[in-house]
């Protein structure tokens, strides 16, 4: 394959970012902010290590509180990255190539945030390795009937596969950056990270195999991991958590929130890194359509849940439904419905889908709405279960909010480093798509 002019342009455009970042001032500003948030994380987690979960608001009956609702939220966001990268790779949808790299990175960091939550939620976080089956002096094995064990395996598997997938994907581009790097240090560092990639025919053949294989492993994980999350609810004898729609509902919600975040990132990066030629309006349009579609499927989940309770007619399920509409946490139900589905309807219009700023706002609204949904699912079910004697309220403490702010930092800081130092877009795949279809805009 000989490099054509447009090839060179694309490689140059993408690889210039790690080497000469276009907007260093803004980047530093954002990075400073994310370091501040990261600081919050260390303060909140440090205080938690010293004082235990007692400093949080969760207690019987609402043991899970913000920690677990954020866990579900973050993990859900992560799923869109895998969907975009792996599913669309396997289905040969080439337009993904402008989006997959940063979507995968988003997945990776979202999964890290998600994984931290159940660990911090343990009474003694430093003993988290007890969740792994290993020979120990207590001759204990993890309880495989426990959702905690499922979480452990789900998150670990997902993290490993996401990391592998992202890294395998980025290797050829790291080599491009290496070849263009000017300083010796950059050459050595990128060179090491590129694992000696020379782009020979054999390299490419192996790479194809590895990449497609990991993709094939990753796709079912999206479904299984978030189904696991939903079954972790169903494992508890709690009214409102037993609907059979749960797995599908959770997976769709996950994709929905994830697409929203991908859209937010796409709009931001496109603007900040001047990538208008690569992340085109067509991409934003497609993302918006995906958002609309997954949003409607999620809405179906809402309708079905209500139907399920009414049709089943269980007294307690009806009571929970009633609590959702009018109870103490009704704001989270209506918050979810309004933020998720009302602005979303604008996406029916082509004109709206072509306006990045509006898309950004709609996506933000969805992210907020999905946050409410995760919160609502936990609170409205847990605070009133079958036994009146175990009713109680939950109010998150300031520490939990601080930890949440910190977790955003845990997400943003490495993501910004990624944006600064690594090729955010898969240059060679964009080129490939270009060659096969002639023009990106109509890919």
């Amino acid at each position: 394959m000989s490099e054509t002019a447009s090839d060179t342009r694309i490689t140059a455009e993408i690889t210039r970012i790690p080497l000469h970042h276009p907007h260093m001032r803004n980047w530093w500003l954002l990075f400073g902010l994310s370091l501040l948030l990261l600081g919050c994380f260390f303060v909140a987690a440090g205080a938690l290590f010293l004082n235990g979960v007692g400093m949080w608001g969760n207690n019987i009956p609402v043991n899970w509180g913000l920690a677990i609702s954020h866990y579900v939220w973050f993990l859900g966001i992560g799923h869109a990255g895998t969907l975009i990268s792996a599913l669309l790779l396997i289905t040969n949808a080439h337009w993904r190539n402008s989006l997959n790299r940063f979507a995968e990175a988003m997945t990776l960091f979202a999964v890290v945030c998600a994984g931290l939550y159940p660990i911090l939620h343990l009474g003694r976080p430093w003993l988290f390795y007890w969740m792994a089956p290993y020979p120990n002096t207590m001759t204990l094995y993890p309880q495989f009937k426990s959702p905690l064990s499922w979480d452990f395996f789900a998150v670990l598997t997902y993290l490993t596969v996401s990391l592998l997938f992202w890294y395998i994907g980025i290797v050829p581009d790291l080599a491009s950056v290496r070849d263009r790097a000017k300083t010796r240090r950059a050459q050595v560092l990128y060179g090491l990270a590129a694992l000696g990639w020379r782009g020979s025919g054999r390299h490419w053949a192996r790479w194809q195999q590895a990449y497609r294989l990991t993709a094939a492993i990753a796709v079912p994980l999206v479904v299984s991991v978030h189904s696991e999350i939903s079954l972790l609810f169903a494992a508890g004898p709690i009214p409102g958590w037993t609907s059979t729609v749960f797995p599908a509902y959770f997976v769709m919600g996950a994709a929905f929130s994830g697409f929203a975040v991908v859209l937010m990132i796409a709009v931001t990066l496109r603007h900040a890194l001047s990538l208008r030629d690569i992340v085109t309006e067509r991409h934003l349009d497609l993302l918006a359509r995906f958002l609309l579609a997954t949003g409607l499927m999620t809405a179906y989940g809402y309708v079905y849940e209500v139907f399920d309770a009414l049709y089943g007619g269980e007294k307690q399920d009806l009571a929970t439904l009633h609590d959702r509409f009018t109870g103490l946490y009704a704001y989270s139900y209506w918050g979810a419905v309004i933020f998720n589905f009302v602005p979303l309807q604008l996406l029916w219009f082509r004109g709206i889908r072509a306006r990045p700023a509006v898309l950004f706002l709609i996506a933000t609204s969805v992210v907020v709405g999905m946050w409410y949904e995760r919160y609502m699912l936990l609170m409205t079910a847990l605070y009133r279960d079958y036994l009146v004697s175990s009713w109680g309220e939950y109010h998150a403490s300031l520490w939990e909010w601080l930890l949440f702010a910190g977790m955003i930092g845990v997400f943003l800081a490495p993501f910004l480093l990624f944006v600064r130092f690594l090729p955010v877009i898969s240059a060679f795949e964009v080129k490939e798509a270009l060659r096969e279809t002639g023009d990106l805009r109509h890919a």
């Binding site: 120990n136 002096t137 207590m138 001759t139 050595v188 060179g191 090491l192 694992l195 000696g196």
Partner: protein
Amino acid sequence: MAQIFTASADTRLRAAALLGVVALVMALVVLGGYADSSYATLVGWVEHQPVPFSHQHHVGELGIDCRYCHAAAETGAHAGLPSTFTCMTCHSQVWTGAPMLAPVRASLASGKPLEWQRVARLPDYVYFDHSIHLSRGVPCVTCHGRVDRMPLMSRAQPFQMQWCLDCHRNPAPHLRPPAEITRMDWSNWDEEPGIHAVYGELMTKVYGIEPAKLTQCNICHR
């Protein structure tokens, strides 16, 4: 521009990756070894005691019964440590002026008990009871080792959960006649397999010991 990576760079990268894997495996092995090492379990380590009390001397040579000093062993959860008066039953007569025993005399005069450093101790979330073990005939030596050969007291068994469970799963071979629980040397027990081979099995039935129950978490974590 000079080449940054020589032709052997790939090989060296692979070697480094291999080394990383080896290091990881080694680290796991070391960690596993540590968990069972006497450094972690404290087996065989002595504590600095206010008086260098020798079980070897008092038990092995003088032949004093454990229960003379650990009186509550058969009746209570804790065997208990002897009071200063217990020492003084003899040391008001023998070795009365020994400088080694000065803290004992000071304790008697002031009424402040000696502060022994514990060596055989469980974390406080574990429930243990001597009386049940002794009434079923588990001898002291099974858990505390050859105390009569210890110039200074040290832990003889790891006291890990694993160790408790190993016996609770199959206590029969450890059972002895309850009248002889303080006996230290059982080497001739197995020399009479005819009588003794079935003793444990038999007594397990007599006492109605059910290993399945003995391994339930709430037996030891209440």
